[in-house]
Amino acid sequence: MDLVVDPTTEKPEERAVQIEETVGNVHVDNPRMRAENVQVHYGDKHAIQNVTIDIGANEVVAFIGPSGCGKSTFLRCLNRMNDTIDICRVDGRIELDGKDIYDPSVDVVPLRARVGMVFQKPNPFPKSIYDNVAYGPRIHGLCDSKAELDEVVEQSLTKAGLWEEVKDRLDQPGTGLSGGQQQRLCIARAIAVSPEVILMDEPCSALDPIATAKIEELIHELSSQFTIVIVTHSMQQAARVSHRTAYFHLGRLVEVGPTKQIFTSPQHSLTQDYITGRFG
């Protein structure tokens, strides 16, 4: 049991709150991914402390929490994007379909094909729309023929709700689309390799409300086929799109629960304070 002090308040002694175990049920019946006692260190900084959570199949899980609470860091552990950072060390166990993804025998390249990622800022490659979507299937050798690849591109764009808007200009650069379209293109690119899990790191933070609504609708539609983990700064967004919500605070997972419960009757005072916009 550690004493965690929120550094943002003026009187830390008043703000001292005990985070013991994660409140709420971290386990689900049919987990797609399981994280057990995950610890992340950035050099000397203990960025993630003892996080245990299941991500259920075909579930949308939202990670919320104040900036720097480690939610994005934890998300990036789920497809080992943190590998690219030299000073980052991940301990504990993260399973995908029962297999530890940090096991030395696991190759990170196929892992990332199974656990796709969509980033905060829409980042299409400066290539054509078609090539953006076709990139994943190409490097992973998913398609034997051009016709097959065309089919995958069309399906992915259709699933991402972009096909009708771009079918006549597939050869134009993806960077020429609007912000919302770019983000949907990135989603199409991620689903083109048929992943099991899609990680989204604040996918709407750079978008206007209409584009955001479209992405949220898309997340809802995709959840029938994919497991989605979304990090968001917008509590309303977490409330709208997710089935379960996890609240992170200072590198710890404070509370997990069904979204409806988290937003009506959170159990932990930190969650309550965050959700209702209080300093506590």
Partner: protein
């Protein structure tokens, strides 16, 4: 306790008071900037106008028209118009006949002086003409030959008629011949063909930049072939793969320092290593290329690293997130995006190399080489060294030739820099 806030009216009043002061300061600042730019532009205009005004005459020279009877027996003693035969022939005699006929010179001294009016390269030109077209043998042709450089200088007014004959490089008789020929319209001021087709020569009227230009191209080819791949590979490794530790830090610092090392040091290095240790011949474009590659490498590495750094991390993230391997991320995304920047850096490095003299002096590319090099291992020189050498020669005509060569060099530099700009504009992408 803080002072009470002032009212908006007070604040507006004070702002108004300070505004004029601010505008005055702004105007002062702009004026200083404009003056600085005007000074810089002024110097540039002076420089360019000097070079152009001196250089343009270098592109022209005086020619003399002669009716030459191409006597087959004299020119082609064996009668088969072969190279050997032509070289056994006596074009001098043919020319002499033509000159004497044209000037009406008589007497040993008169004939000798008359013949001196024509460039000594005229015989070679005659031979080359026949080689090109043997049918000319036996006919009489009206041909323009370059005049001797002293004659040229006289015609340009550098050698004054008023100067006493004993102090002049032309005799009174020669001046008489020239006046007569001019009166007949047989001396003309024409675009020089020697400048582009000729090589280094002691005879100013025959000197040209061809050998130097070819030497520069050969040298730069070697430089490009060496420096670009090595530089890009180094930059990619340092930027993308190398761990951040003491060793790579030292390497980085040293690369940055190398960029500031005086170029002559690279020449000494080249002399010691390539010529002293490996035993290469002096004056070779190959060795020059090696030395210039060494000198250009830091520039290319630094600009390539900057170009790599400029590739947004979001693109790397996107590719990594799709499951691309590190090498795929670099070859598929980072390098194509960084290429315009790398090419720009390379072209600027090459332009630097093109204008470089000092290190090449050290490895002997300053030698007087008449033949145009045809391979990387033929001795040669380069354009800036040629300029350097010409600037040293005494004949007046070299002044014009030097400036003309400088203009040619500047043209090359401008073309290369323009190419860099075009490349950057063309491949620049927005993301």
């Amino acid at each position: 306790m803080t002072k009470a806030m002032m009212t908006p009216q007070e604040a507006a009043q004070r702002v108004q008071q300070s505004v004029n002061k601010r505008y005055a300061a702004e105007r002062r600042f702009q004026l200083i900037g404009k003056l600085a730019i005007a000074t810089a532009l002024g110097f540039l205009v002076i420089l360019m106008s000097t070079i152009v005004s001196k250089g343009v005459p270098g592109f022209f020279q005086h020619y003399i028209q002669l009716d030459v009877t191409l006597d087959a027996e004299l020119l082609d003693p064996r009668g088969d118009a072969s190279v050997d035969s032509l070289f056994d022939g006596n074009p001098r005699k043919v020319l002499q006949q033509a000159v004497y006929a044209e000037t009406g010179a008589s007497g040993r001294k008169g004939k000798k002086e008359a013949f001196k009016l024509v460039s000594s390269g005229a015989q070679d030109r005659l031979r080359a003409m026949i080689l090109d077209n043997p049918n000319l043998l036996g006919t009489t042709q009206r041909i323009w030959f370059a005049v001797d450089d002293d004659v040229d200088s006289f015609l340009r007014g550098y050698i004054k008629r008023e100067t006493p004959e004993s102090d002049r490089r032309l005799s009174d008789r020669q001046i008489g011949f020239i006046d007569e020929l001019q009166a007949q319209g047989k001396i003309e001021y024409q675009l020089s063909d020697y400048l582009f087709s000729g090589s280094a020569s002691r005879n100013a009227e025959m000197a040209g930049v061809k050998g130097a230009v070819v030497g520069s191209i050969l040298t730069l080819t070697i430089t490009l072939l060496l420096a670009f791949p090595i530089g890009v590979a180094t930059a990619v490794y340092l930027e993308e793969f190398a761990p951040k530790n003491r060793l790579t830090e030292i390497i980085e610092v040293n690369i940055n320092n190398l960029a500031a090392v005086p170029s002559v040091v690279f020449g000494i290095l080249g002399l010691a290593v390539f010529i002293g240790f490996f035993g290469f011949q002096r004056s070779l474009p190959l060795v020059g290329g090696f030395v210039l590659a060494l000198m250009t490498l830091p520039t290319i590495i630094i600009s390539s690293r900057a170009a790599l750094k400029a590739v947004p991390p979001s693109i790397r993230d996107a590719a990594l997130g799709m499951g691309a391997s590190r090498v795929q991320v670099i070859t598929h995304h980072v390098l194509p995006l960084a290429m315009p920047g790398m090419l720009t850096g390379t072209i600027i490095g090459m332009a630097q190399a093109l204008g470089e003299t000092a290190p090449l002096l050290m490895i002997g590319m300053v030698a007087f080489i008449v033949d145009t090099p045809t391979s990387f291992v033929d001795p040669g020189t380069v354009l800036p060294v040629q300029i350097f050498m010409w600037a040293d020669f005494a004949e007046r005509m070299y002044v014009a030739k030097t400036s003309a060569a400088i203009l040619i060099l500047l043209t090359f530099l401008i073309v290369m820099n323009a190419l860099a700009v075009v490349l950057r504009k063309k491949f620049e992408r927005r993301w």
